[in-house]
């Protein structure tokens, strides 16, 4: 698939805009990552191509409001593809360490560390145990 990465980057900057010191998703370099990973899954690859092909050629030079209008038009006309485009964008944006840092998030894969919780505390059932049986006898 041949995708215009500069156009896609501009779109990503509107989809997940800059906040604080963090650049938008496009300026963060996410376009290449998304295109590369979408190649693993035909649904995402097709959706990304659909959205990218629908972007106006002059999208990068439009003002932000016009860019948002263009994206809204694509969202309206190509809802399913646009949804998959958002899913893959969010999925890889929230993988970035700098994003985790801003969210004060631990920023690691779920395993192998996992999390710690104290063992089950039987005392939480004190009220629930007082309930009379409510299952129907047959």
């Amino acid at each position: 698939m041949s995708t215009d990465l500069s156009l896609l980057s501009a779109a990503l900057d509107r989809v997940v805009p800059a906040i604080g010191d963090l650049p938008g998703a496009g300026a963060m370099g996410l376009a290449e990552v998304i295109v590369e990973n979408a190649r693993q899954d035909r649904r995402f690859e097709t959706a990304l191509k659909t959205v990218a092909d629908a972007l106006p050629d002059d999208f990068a030079s439009l003002d932000p409001a016009a860019q948002d209008d263009a994206l809204r038009n694509i969202e309206s006309a190509q809802g399913e593809a646009f949804g998959l485009f958002l899913d893959i964008t969010y999925s890889f944006y929230y993988m970035r360490p700098e994003v985790h840092e801003r969210l004060n998030w631990h920023g690691r894969a779920p395993q192998p560390e996992g999390n710690e919780l104290p063992p089950f505390d039987d005392s939480v059932l004190e009220i629930a145990r007082q309930r009379a049986p409510l299952w129907r006898k047959v």
């Binding site: 997940v16 969210l103 999390n115 089950f120 059932l125 629930a128 129907r136 047959v138």
Partner: protein, 545 residues
């Protein structure tokens, strides 16, 4: 690959089709009883050391190669499902362990009343067996799969102690529990086939990564590749993975004689057997029976009643969630623990004549899974793109909990699994086609549950309440498409799971369900499978050489 005792082509005593929840249980029982068992599984062994939760891009993997929707996963071992006429997407996994690889391992039981819905409520049909008859097999299954739970639930009959204490419910679980109590409603910690302590062969305790909807690196979540299959293989069962059955064959008398299958190289092979056990789930089993036409069985195997593929039941699911002002500072702002199976309420489980629907539903608590999941709309709509994106994610991240509603779907003959005339799988076999309509009774159940769910979230202190009135990708529970009963004209198999039409064919998956109750079905599927296995081992010794 073949996991076996080195046996080559031969006539097996029993051929099992499908290596998932039920097929594995039957294989273990019969192999231990000395039967020559062969199992054909279209999928492959999974390596828990390579599951997605070890990878930074686990979230993307959960939408692609580890999706539980076979149409999205699209692996060669998956078969496509035509959903043009179904609002519910069936989800499953094809591999050794079957859907237990990607299930959340919730392990509730049916209630005694679930087996008597016709007698009690005048709807559907009674089962040809009772809760009490099935109870010993539930207990056996709890031991092998490893059940974490605690006695004393007023919502269910007393039962044998579980082998492990419950998983902790967490601070968010306690918040929801107190909300149930404030309304005077039942709640109880969920029974799980997830280890709360090390249990079983090489299986560690849960470390609360949260993703019990994916494969478990800790091997804490029970899947039958880790529980039943090691026993079965040790006792001599042969498991041929990557082998897709195309047809159950019959002999001159019309009795099952084995199966034709495509091996790993795509070559058509035949496995001879004296008995055949179908364990392919509520879609795969009717699909294969309908593909197995012959002069003796022109409508498909075991289908003289015309009921193979009919009466498909799902559990229609709605979701009511809340976002709360506080979060858990001890875990980076996240409430942690399994994403589901934390606690449940069966306050509205049994029929109440005051309501405008029969039967009832269960509430099951769910918790969030991090920023990508939150942004993609784990609890609510997908977070908006654009200027509002960051504000929305920040507001929702780590502050959400909710309840999924699992309602009892009654059997209706127009809800069907058939063979698609056009779509094919990677072997050229017909895809499954689903026709399903949500019934008025099921819709009323969900609406009742949504109204009460809002009260629950308010009682818990939610700042924002979100509702998904019908979750499309919720067809985990595939039931009813080869129902059991005493009458051959109104059922496909008898009370032992044995086909009425041919005495050496058995069905042990969710297809045999007469009704679906309002709980996750796998413990009941496995208990029924063990009961059928015991019948074969003790009453069908003629199959054994």
């Amino acid at each position: 690959m073949t996991s076996s005792n080195g046996k080559s082509d031969h006539t097996a005593d029993v051929l099992i089709v499908g290596a998932g929840a039920s097929g594995a249980a039957v294989a273990a029982w019969l192999a231990e009883a000395g039967f020559d068992v062969v199992c054909l599984e279209q999928g492959h062994w999974q390596n828990p050391d390579k599951y997605a939760t070890l990878d930074p891009d686990f979230d993307f993997q959960s939408m692609s190669k580890w999706s539980y929707d076979p149409n999205k996963r699209g692996l060669p071992e998956d078969y496509p499902i035509n959903l043009d006429d179904s609002p519910v997407t069936p989800v499953m996994f094809n591999g050794v362990g079957g859907s237990t690889i990607l299930w959340t391992a919730h392990a509730p039981r049916f209630h005694p009343s679930d087996f008597r819905v016709k007698t009690l409520d005048g709807v559907a049909d009674d089962w040809p067996l009772t809760y009490e008859e099935l109870e010993p097999y539930y207990d056996m299954n709890d031991q092998v799969m490893g059940c974490a739970g605690i006695n004393g639930d007023p919502g269910n009959p007393p039962r044998a102690p579980r082998p492990m204490p419950p998983l902790p419910i967490g601070a968010d679980g306690l918040k929801l529990a107190r909300a149930f109590e404030s309304l005077g409603w039942h709640w109880w910690p969920s029974d799980n086939y997830i280890n709360s302590i090390p249990y079983g062969e090489g299986r560690d305790a849960c470390n609360f990564c949260g993703h019990n909807n994916l494969g478990c690196v800790q091997r804490a979540k029970a899947s039958t590749d880790l529980t039943y299959w090691p026993r079965a293989l040790r006792d001599g069962a042969e498991l041929k993975s990557g082998c897709r059955v195309s047809e159950i064959t019959v002999d001159a008398e019309g009795r099952a004689s084995g199966a034709n299958y495509f091996d790993q190289n795509g070559e058509l092979q035949h496995q001879q057997a004296r008995g055949v056990v179908m364990a392919c789930n509520g879609i795969g089993t009717p699909r294969l029976l309908l593909m197995s036409t012959s002069d003796a069985h022109p409508q498909g195997l075991a289908n003289s009643s015309g009921l193979v593929g009919k009466n498909l039941m799902f559990h229609p699911v709605a979701f009511i969630g809340g976002f709360f002002p506080e979060h858990d500072p001890e875990h980076d702002g996240e409430w942690v623990g399994p994403m589901a199976n934390i606690l449940m309420s069966q306050e509205f489980y049994e029929t109440d004549p005051e309501r405008d629907f029969v039967r009832g539903y269960t509430y099951q608590m769910a918790r969030g899974l991090g920023p990508a999941w939150t942004a993609r709309g784990g609890f609510a709509d997908r977070a908006p793109w654009g200027e509002d994106h960051h504000r929305t994610v920040q507001k929702r991240l780590g502050r959400g909990l909710g309840v999924a509603v699992m309602g009892e779907d009654l059997p209706e003959p127009h809800n069907t699994v058939t063979l698609d005339p056009v779509m094919k799988d990677s072997s050229g076999l017909p895809a499954a086609k689903i026709n399903y309509t949500l019934s008025e009774n099921s819709r009323k159940q969900l609406d009742h549950a949504i109204e009460n769910g809002r009260k629950l979230m308010q009682a818990a202190g939610a700042e924002e309440i979100v509702v998904n009135p019908f979750i499309q990708e919720s067809g985990w529970h595939l039931m009813g498409t080869a129902r059991m009963g005493d009458d051959p004209e109104s059922s496909v198999v008898n009370r032992r799971g044995q086909a009425h039409d041919l005495d050496n064919l058995f069905v042990v998956d969710g297809s045999v369900f007469v009704t679906g109750a309002a709980v996750n079905p796998t413990p009941t599927i496995q208990a029924l499978a063990l009961r059928t296995a015991e019948f074969i081992a003790t009453e069908r010794t003629d199959l054994k050489r």
